[in-house]
């Protein structure tokens, strides 16, 4: 086993060697611009792009013409939301989302609010699930878009996409789904789920960074978008800019592998995740699961270790790469907004750790991690005044703390 151990697969993933191999010729031999229509260099590049486009489209149940390549999911989210808001501004100005979406969605919505859009943020319950009735009731004749993620990047909770799509379709409202954490990990079919726009990213599924796509429905109903970048009119005018051909090829291959291996990989990851969870709760008290117990990404385990601050815990397990919802690990000094929206107290948000498991995670690594984390938590609790007080029977909520 090699140290350090990478357990932050929801942040990014290593590129699969099979993907690298597929990409390599497109840096040197087949380097052409896929928009060059008058020579073989261009044709070969275009051929590779067309193949990847079909690969990606067929996996999500779309056609190649509905795939717009972008620089990643942040751009896809921006293009989808801005694009619809701008193009359909005569029709309406109301957008529906939740408070636990990725910042690429939330910050775009905040910007549009300043420009006169109305945004409804649906409530989520303690597991991060929305209430479908509340969604139905929130749709008005001014609503142009519902934007909800497939699976949450912090807590792993999966939204009921099929049920959401039934509601949006019956109400005649577009459904944008940020599936950055979903494609290649859970089954997604844009027709079965009535999804009209779908954001994807390659680097979350063992593809390269800097490449993503937006699925834009062409028929029943046709979705139209105003571009956010202007130039050569690439990608049917929706996203100008020379295509990142090697990236596109890598993305296609990465998604194809993820899709082929999805069933066996999900099962393997769920087993590893449950093993880690069980080993930690066997050795430690006051461990709380964040997110839904079962409707969650196979490779996501988000736990709060009460009375221990997340950053200090990460420091204690320096050979294991994880992330925390603690404020101390972010520049904002605010704990995770996702955990906050779930009603997890700020104290437990500061104590949260996200374990992101993936393709190259082994049983040995999981067992090592469980022991290291349990050891570090125990040591830090020995020096935690809160743990001492709780053990003495003090109700922490009865203490008058000096907030600063």
């Amino acid at each position: 086993m090699k140290l350090p151990i990478y357990l932050d697969y929801q942040a990014t993933t290593p590129v699969d060697p099979r993907v690298v191999e597929e990409m390599l010729p497109f840096f040197t031999e087949t380097f052409g611009n896929s928009a060059s229509r008058n020579h073989a260099f261009g044709w070969k590049a275009e051929e590779a792009v067309a193949k990847a486009r079909e690969q990606i489209a067929s996996i999500i149940g779309a056609s190649g013409k509905e795939i717009v390549f972008t620089s990643g999911a942040t751009e896809s989210d921006n293009l989808a939301i801005h694009g619809v808001a701008e193009f359909y501004k005569e029709k309406g100005n109301h957008i529906i989302t939740t408070g636990i979406e990725h910042k690429a969605v939330l910050d775009t919505c905040h910007y549009l609010e300043q420009k006169g859009c109305e945004v409804t943020y649906l409530d989520v319950d303690k597991h991060g699930c929305i209430d479908l009735q509340q969604l139905t009731d929130a749709i008005t004749d001014k609503t142009i878009l519902v934007t909800l993620m497939a699976a949450n990047n912090e807590i792993g909770t999966i939204h009921p996409l099929k049920e959401i799509g039934e509601i949006t379709r019956s109400k005649g409202v577009f459904f944008h789904c940020d599936a950055t954490q979903g494609v290649g990990k859970i089954p997604i079919d844009v027709n079965e789920m009535n999804i009209d726009l779908l954001s994807m990213s390659a680097h979350k599924i063992y593809g390269p960074k800097g490449i993503g796509a937006l699925y834009v429905r062409r028929r029943k109903p046709r979705v139209r978008l105003s571009p956010i970048m202007y130039g050569g009119g690439h990608e049917r005018g929706m996203r100008s800019g020379t295509l990142n051909v090697s990236g596109v090829v890598g993305f296609g291959k990465a998604l194809e592998i993820s899709q082929t291996e999805m069933d066996s990989e999900s099962e393997r990851l769920i087993n590893l995740r449950e093993r880690l969870h069980q080993k930690l709760t066997e050795q430690l008290d006051y461990v709380f699961l964040n997110g839904h117990p079962t409707k969650r990404l196979p490779g996501n385990l988000n736990l709060s270790f009460a009375y221990v601050e997340g950053e200090s815990l990460i420091m204690g397990i320096s050979e294991i790469a994880v992330s925390s919802g603690s404020a101390c690990t972010s520049a904002s000094l605010e704990p995770s907004y996702v955990l906050r929206a779930l009603g997890v107290g700020d104290d437990l948000a500061h104590s949260s750790i996200r374990f992101g498991l993936g393709r190259f995670t082994t049983v040995e690594e999981i067992d090592y991690t469980a022991d290291k984390v349990a050891g570090a938590v125990s040591r830090l609790r020995e020096m935690s005044p809160l743990y001492e007080m709780v053990k003495e029977g003090v109700d922490l909520s009865s203490v008058s703390w000096t907030s600063h």
């Binding site: 420091m315 603690s326 101390c328 107290g345 104290d347 809160l386 000096t402």
Partner: protein, 130 residues
């Protein structure tokens, strides 16, 4: 974030972790911070003849908070009460090379020292009054 060697050293080998019995006459206890803010420090001093002869701490917080309180216990030991009150958070920032986002950890450690001394003095006054 990269930590200074001194922060890492205090985190790995914290000085004076533990607790005194709060009720003891010559013990002063400071409890500062809040769980919702992500840091709580408990710093205790044991005083004899107006001199701090021993100190203990327990901290819930990031590595810099643990290091700041660990350092604070080291520094107050052997000092008179008046001398201990001259310890400034800026001294802690300098000693541990804390980055700007971690300055609040040093402020909290200074508060913890003051709060422990205040508790000691308050309880002495009560006892004398009896």
């Amino acid at each position: 974030m990269a930590y200074s060697d001194k922060v890492v050293d205090h985190y790995n080998s914290p000085r004076n972790v533990g607790s005194f019995k709060k009720e003891e006459d010559n013990v002063g206890t400071g409890l500062v911070g809040a769980p919702e803010c992500g840091d709580v420090m408990k710093l205790q001093i044991k005083v004899e003849d107006n001199r701090i002869v021993d100190a203990k701490f327990k901290t819930f917080g990031c590595g810099s908070a643990i290091a700041s309180s660990s350092l604070a216990t080291e520094w107050v030991k052997g000092k008179s009460i008046d001398e201990a009150l001259t310890i400034k958070n800026t001294d802690i920032v300098e000693e541990l090379s804390l980055p700007p986002v971690k300055i609040h950890c040093s402020v909290l450690a200074e508060d913890a020292i003051r709060s422990a001394i205040k508790d000691y003095k308050d309880r002495r006054t009560e006892n004398t009054a009896e």
